[in-house]
Chain length 267, copies 2
């Protein structure tokens, strides 16, 4: 199957223009599954929860997801993209998984970064779902989730072959850490990050780009710098089913869950 | 406190010479705590369990640990080093933690690599203990344990500030992965690897060197290539008590153990 990601610099609040820009880039490459950045149509630095509420939309029927759905239908493709999601009074930093037949899944960000905690609600319930989209089994996570090894681990244990990772990265460490995530779980990961600067808060944020696709051997198949671009590459998702390290080692079979109880103790 | 590691090429079975070589290198640098490679005195490629049994020793009273103990007493220092440990009929790939007053702890390798499974017994019980040695709280792991994020996570959750990591690395990925381990847990890690080649099996093994010390920000403070050497550096273990990422993020406080139950499910 062919995987793509779109890296670009959205303009805060210009939803329609941002979607057009992202889809125009995406239209330039053939792929089965496209990953777009976190909050790719809205922008990142919401002044407050009120402003966020204005730009948030439900996972079905809103302007962003409807255009994505139409685009997926037309192209016969899947897309994973970050949106500010409204669900009743709750507001989530979410990723939607859209296919030719419409919405397939929603991931609500579990580990919120910095001031996102003042704006968004964190996921409340079981969040790490894996979706079989025919060509592959995929899981989603968003940006700062990368620093918690638990996230990719859980997605991989549940059968994800490809981790879809919309991001708005500002810290420099994620691209290298995702190599470790792929190695330790033998999965693919597609990190679709944004670029550009937002300075609507007292502190400007520069997004690092460096979107990438990493394979289960920890090889970086594609990595951008900070250009706006869509790129794609062929991968074989079944490579992620092989947890082999040596003839006697397998990263899952070797796990000693009998010795890991500390991982779930509340602090 | 001052941390050191010793990297060198042991000769298989030449226990006394290997210890002398390692301690001579260690004598050349001042430190409070020295880390030596996995199986640093015995070598790695045991032909079979019989040969391993001949070279294995109990955690107290054997030739390797007694010389280490004497050395630690004389220098007023701590040492962590890998030995083949005999305990009744069981044989472990172990690391001992030795101080000026003798043995402080033993770590029995949990995740055995490749043919180690034909030779050694894996740790049976709670393995990931943390030791307060006055200057710092330390935990131990050995070589291939690196690929399991659970290990450093558990040690860090239990309060380890410094992870002592004797190794006989042959895969190239560990040094970079340990950067991720330190970042995601905000701990120090000292990886003491060996160099050289052993070809007592049908397949020769080349050990990669690249011993290193990484700090809780993921900065590589020291990294060797493949030379034989002992090196040391001053660190402040208290840096590892600060799990800060942003004013609203802390790598431990942000963990959502309510959502991590998959981690302990048997497969």
């Amino acid at each position: 199957m062919r995987l793509a990601f779109v890296q670009f610099s959205p303009s805060f609040g210009k939803v329609s223009e941002n979607i057009s820009q992202a889809l125009t880039l995406a239209d330039g490459v053939e792929a089965d599954l496209y990953v777009f950045p976190e909050l790719f149509a809205s922008g990142y630095q919401f002044k407050d929860r009120e402003e966020l509420k204005e730009l948030a939309e439900p996972a079905t029927g809103g302007p962003t997801v409807e255009r994505l759905a139409e685009w997926c239908r037309r192209r016969g493709a899947f897309a994973c993209a970050g949106i500010p999601e409204a669900d009743g009074d709750a507001l989530y930093n979410s990723a939607v998984l859209m296919g030719p037949d419409g919405l397939r899944g929603v991931y609500r960000k579990v580990h919120l970064f910095w001031r996102e905690k003042d704006l968004f609600d964190a996921a409340r319930e079981d969040a790490f779902e894996v979706y079989d989209v025919g060509l592959a089994r995929v899981g989603m996570m968003i940006c700062f989730d990368w620093i918690f090894p638990e996230v990719v681990r859980i997605l991989a244990l549940r059968g994800a072959q490809i981790v879809l990772h919309p991001a708005n990265l500002v810290l420099p460490d994620c691209p290298a850490a995702m190599v470790t995530r792929c190695l330790e779980n033998r999965v693919f990961a597609v990190t679709a990050n944004r670029t550009g600067i937002e300075d609507r808060w007292d502190e400007a944020m520069t997004f690092i780009g460096q979107s990438q696709i990493v394979n289960p051997r920890g090889e970086v198949l594609l990595r951008l710098e900070d250009e706006g671009a869509a790129v794609s590459i062929d991968v074989n998702p079944a490579e992620a089913d092989d947890k082999f390290v040596t003839p006697q080692n397998d990263v899952f079979a070797d796990r000693r869950v009998d010795l890991y109880s500390e991982l779930l103790k509340p602090k």
